[in-house]
Amino acid sequence: MTPKPYVREIPRTTWYLSRRGDMLHMVHEVSSIFIGIYSLVLLWGIQSLAEGPVAYQAFLDGLSSPLLLAFQWVTLALVLFHAQAWFALTPKAMPIQIGEQFVPDGLIAGAHYLAWGVFSLVVLYLAGVF
């Protein structure tokens, strides 16, 4: 008897819907596209800054358009998701061994959160938000 192994097809566009972990990973992957578009928004800001006060005011007005406001909210959510996933994965990619023992993952991730929080507050302070 010849064996006749059965190959299961993977649904090409929907495979990540069946597992929660796969879905969250897909969200993380897609966050990159929003990060890219937001970088282009920042680039637009730099361009307008170089062109003078009138162009720059047009950029600031642009930020308040409903489309860009909605985009920014979605990007904020996605980038926060990206940040927590990134901090959680960093200790795996860059473990630190001191003597015999490895520094616990939670400690490395925690240090990232601390630095992130301090950095964000400093930036908000320097920006004159409070």
Binding site: K4, Y6, W15, G21, D22, L89, K92, A93
Partner: protein
Amino acid sequence: MSYKTIELEILRYRPEVDAEPWFQTYRVPCEEDWVVLDAINYVKDHLDSTLSYRWSCHMAVCGSCGVMIDGDAALACKTFVRDLPERKIRIEPLKNFPIERDLVVVMDDFMEKLGRVKPYVIREKDKPLEEGEYRQTPAQLKKFKQYTLCINCLCCYAACPQYGLIPEFIGPAALALAHRYNQDSRDEGKRERDEVVTRNEGVWDCSFADACSAVCPKKVDPAGAIQQMKIASTVDWYVERLGLGRKKT
């Protein structure tokens, strides 16, 4: 007296009669301390002797009983029935592998890839026996110990989205073992392994979904191993491009 009766839905595939797999449901009276493998064994012993599946040790050492349990790759011997939320439990053969028969998958692809990463200590020149053993400090051992715990159960391949999408991908367990030997102070084979590891279908097809590490029953963390090799390979790449490294012989 049984603890509870479950409905075990098992994916069946008998190549001589079935055109495609189908689910068969068995009612299994379980005890409270049963793992899923006990329930499958009950089916085999009392309900349907035609069911095919792999198992051996019943204690998460042999790596034979990896299956999909309610969609997640896991060892049937390490998953307690009482920890599963539903009375209905769905058992399928490991994803991303062809089905040989019922819950038995074809693992030839993994075996071939495992060989390609040369998972053994390689020395440029072996030391004569009379010079004694290769000594290793506890810190040097600790550096790679967790990667030695892999039992080749292939749960990581079943969980890996990239292996499902890109069949050429060397995949988690084989790459973790490559890293295990690269990290071993006695080993000098990194450059040989890099021939496979640093190709696109080596570490670079990994998207760091971390699914392999999430399902690993031995906490090997293949995802971490792969990222560490990406970093090492990147450093090597820059060193080579910038001409900082030692000359290649």
